[in-house]
């Protein structure tokens, strides 16, 4: 960021030294403002109107929301609608929030530990035949979609189908390749001298990892946490297949269920959409930079 800024200054400096006409600079400035404003208007049209549409319709009464119009509501039903959504089907949405949160927290906790360990060893053993085979398996996991019904069969055989433990481990398995690759890339930046000095101090491999390496992985760990939490929280397909049932509902499934349940109550459906968009919004406000950095890192290295 700061680099970009300073080079902006440099360009300005070069321009300045070329002493252009004041008039030319003025038109450039006008042009820049015009472009900025046009971009602002376009982005608002394309990206904000859908949000406005959903929010405004979530506080209308049923009849008005059925028109699906952008019009301002004649009467506001904010509390009624949101209360109705939250209490629908025995507080399904609240249970789903709990389920989704648990699922997210559990799967991330496990993922971070196991992926960091794996990434560490895979990087340090880079080049060996076994490790390149493992690398291939990990890379394959990034591309190849999971086999649905056999996974259900495996889960059912070990008694984990439709359990929180089962879906948690599925999420860990499916997010493992991405996390492992991020960790591997980050471990590569830690000099081996760190390991060696610890070994000389008498640390074993286990202690080396836990007391020295793992704390050093903090930046990439936070990236993994933020990115995976969004993915797991927004996951629709895996709970749909591996965690079915009304008691088990996760956030995305409630929305899907309400879609058939509230076929005529668009206001409630939209209220649900607003509610489930709040957690990603909060994450976005606090971790915007982290998310962007993580996504780019993952993409470039993956």
């Amino acid at each position: 960021m700061s680099k970009g800024l300073s080079s902006d200054h440099m360009i300005k400096g070069i321009r300045g030294s070329r002493s252009e006409h004041v008039e030319g600079r003025l038109t450039k400035r006008v042009k820049r403002i015009t472009i900025g404003v046009v971009a602002l208007v376009l982005s608002t049209l394309i990206f904000w109107i859908p949000f406005y549409f959903v929010i405004i319709n979530s506080i209308k009464n049923q009849a008005e929301s059925a028109d699906m119009s952008m019009a301002w509501p004649t009467s506001f039903h904010f509390l009624d609608n949101y209360k109705a959504v939250l209490t629908a089907s025995d507080y399904m949405l609240i249970r789903a929030f709990i389920n989704s949160t648990l699922l997210t927290v559990l799967s991330i906790s496990i993922l971070v530990v196991v992926a960091a360990m794996a990434g560490f060893v895979l990087q340090r053993r880079e080049g060996g035949r076994t490790s390149s085979f493992i690398n291939f398996l990990v890379l394959a996991g990034l591309m190849i979609p999971p086999a649905i019904v056999p996974t259900i069969w495996v889960l059912d055989s070990i008694g984990l189908f439709k359990t929180l433990a089962g879906i948690t481990l599925i999420e860990v398995a499916l997010h493992f390749p991405f996390a492992a690759i991020l960790y591997k890339a980050f471990v590569a930046t830690l000099p081996r001298e760190v390991d060696e000095s610890a070994l000389i101090d008498g640390c074993g491999g286990g202690r080396l990892f836990m007391s020295i390496i793992f704390p050093l992985l903090k930046p990439v760990t936070s990236t993994v946490i933020v990115l995976t939490s969004i993915n797991v929280f927004n996951d629709f397909v895996n709970p749909l297949y591996f965690f079915p049932g009304a008691d088990n509902a996760t956030i995305q499934l409630t929305l899907y269920n309400f879609m058939s349940r509230f076929t005529t109550s668009w206001n409630l459906l939209f209220a649900d959409i607003v509610l489930i968009s709040i957690p990603p919004l909060i994450l976005f406000i606090f971790f915007n930079k982290k998310i962007v950095a993580g996504m780019t890192a993952g993409a470039v290295k993956g």
């Binding site: 360009i11 971009a39 119009s69 952008m70 794996a118 895979l122 889960l155």
Partner: protein
Amino acid sequence: MTKTKMRTYSYFFLLPAGIIYFVFYLLPTILSFFFSMTRWTLTKWTYIGFENYATFFSETSLSIGFRNTLVYAVVTCGLKVVLGLLLGAFLTSRVLFKNYLRSVIFFPTLLSTIAVGIAFSTMMHPSHGMFNTVLASLGITGPDWLGNTKIALLSVAMVDVWKGVGVATVIYIAGISAIPQEYYEALKIDGGNNYSAFWNITLPLSRPAMNSVIILAFIGGLRSFDLIWAMTKGGPGFTTDLIASIIYKQYQAGFYGLATAGNVILFIAVSVLAFPLYKFLTKSEVNL
């Protein structure tokens, strides 16, 4: 040192991840090859050879998924590559409200796909949806976005791009920011304008970023399911069915063997298309 190394970087470190990854991902993937050749009720199976595959390729309602999946992947990937590049180049130039614009474009990526799908399918209602009321006020009769068989798949693809272009954009931004400013300065001194800067510097030097976008978007497109399911469920008829939605339908119908065959087909399609693409792109990157 090798001995220390063996002990220090013990493969036991891989064990927890390895077990989970094997049991919940690799094992089912391996099993899928067997189960795709069975008629299967989850408790009982009968081996039937390649019959499921034959069914998959002979039935229009199933084979339509190939064409659609390919079209969908190419269209969404192409648009994300091009739009992402333009947006990325634009948002790394001297623009007002830069940070705001970056955030706005990126935010939809974090939303629930199902929520986005539901919201857009209401906005695409043929007579009182927002799109067509706006078009009507301009005197244009809007199409039936999700009902017209010629454009339904493309309508969904547009929404996919709306939601996903943010990722492509930030990857390009990272790639373009890494281009040394000296190149641009040199070009400026030679009297080049913004366009030549874009064509001669930004475009060729953001190739690594572009490759990432291509791979990510293309694989994402091939595997796509959520959005199509939230918006059309493969309809009208079978016109917007993707391989992934067909798998789900066969699963719903209880045709577990057939669903698994679909899975294997998707598996092969991804391998046959994405791996060579990946190889090709990384190779040409080296040649650059």
